[in-house]
């Protein structure tokens, strides 16, 4: 049996969408994954064993995907419109960095991995220029 409320109930849910982000951001996360890609490519050049190569390709793709994720989180969640004043090329920088991750995912050229590291270092400079280090990290215990 149908109830009136079943007929009238909305079929679509909209959200006010507040969240509880941890608020911790650091390009170092992306850099460590990109360093993994660099080192894996380096080791692939020194080992022609097909099983090793298959494993290396698989792990490199996983690490590249993680690097892309960390860059996306920085781009979408940390950086705000007002940061464009200090980093006018912010969107172009992230566009280039995330495109470069995709390139590294499919590449076995060490130069591609090196270029990705350099782009992440530029992201790091943008993060520091906008106060990211002071605003988003928890200070270490001093000795």
């Amino acid at each position: 049996m149908f109830r009136l409320s079943d007929i009238l109930a909305p079929k679509t849910i909209v959200r006010a969408h507040c969240d509880l982000p941890c608020g911790v951001y650091d390009p170092e996360q992306a850099r460590i994954e990109a360093e993994s890609c660099y080192k894996i490519i380096e080791k692939m050049g020194q080992n022609s064993d097909p099983t090793f190569t298959a494993r290396a390709i698989d792990i490199k793709e996983q690490r590249a995907e993680l690097a892309k994720h960390h860059l996306d989180v920085l781009w979408h969640d940390y950086f705000k419109p007002e940061h464009l004043e200090k980093v006018p090329n912010l969107h172009e920088l992230f566009w280039n960095a995330t495109k470069q991750v995709s390139k590294v995912k499919a590449s076995t050229d060490l130069a591609d991995a090196r270029k990705l590291l350099d782009l992440i270092d530029e992201v790091d400079a943008a993060w520091k220029a906008t106060g990211g280090q002071e605003k988003t990290r928890v200070a270490r215990q001093t000795a």
Binding site: L8, P10, C18, L20, H76, P81, E82, K86
Partner: protein, 118 residues
């Protein structure tokens, strides 16, 4: 969006609008990047100037600045972080406008038109 919109409210949405309604109106949008359906208030419309911590920006002819109603104190009390609104994703183009919330038909004690405010 409390107290204007409470969780569980049943709303009628006007999907025919093609331009940003006036400041203070409650709208449903598709959030940039996530495509989530979200409800926000129009804080500034096309051509308006929005003041930011470090300067200002002027909205384009099809852009609006959308905000949540909750204040920092209310968010803190509710245990929530910063709301996801134009402070997170910037100006919203009119292409992402889904409709204008204009009437609440449930719960019964809160039935009535949703008027622009704030």
């Amino acid at each position: 969006m409390s107290p204007t919109i409470e969780p569980g409210d049943w709303l009628l949405i006007d999907p025919t609008i093609r331009r940003w309604p006036r400041r203070g109106t409650i709208v449903v949008i598709r959030e940039p990047d996530s495509d989530v359906l979200a409800i926000k208030r129009v804080a500034a419309g096309p051509g308006d100037r929005v003041n930011l911590d470090a300067g200002h920006l002027v909205l384009g002819p099809d852009e609006a600045w959308l905000l949540s109603d909750a204040t920092d104190a209310e968010l803190l009390a509710a245990g929530l972080g910063q709301p996801i609104d134009s402070r997170r994703y910037g100006p919203v183009p009119v292409d992402l406008l889904v409709g204008r919330a204009w009437f609440r038909y449930a719960p019964i004690r809160r039935i009535g038109p949703i008027r622009p405010g704030r």
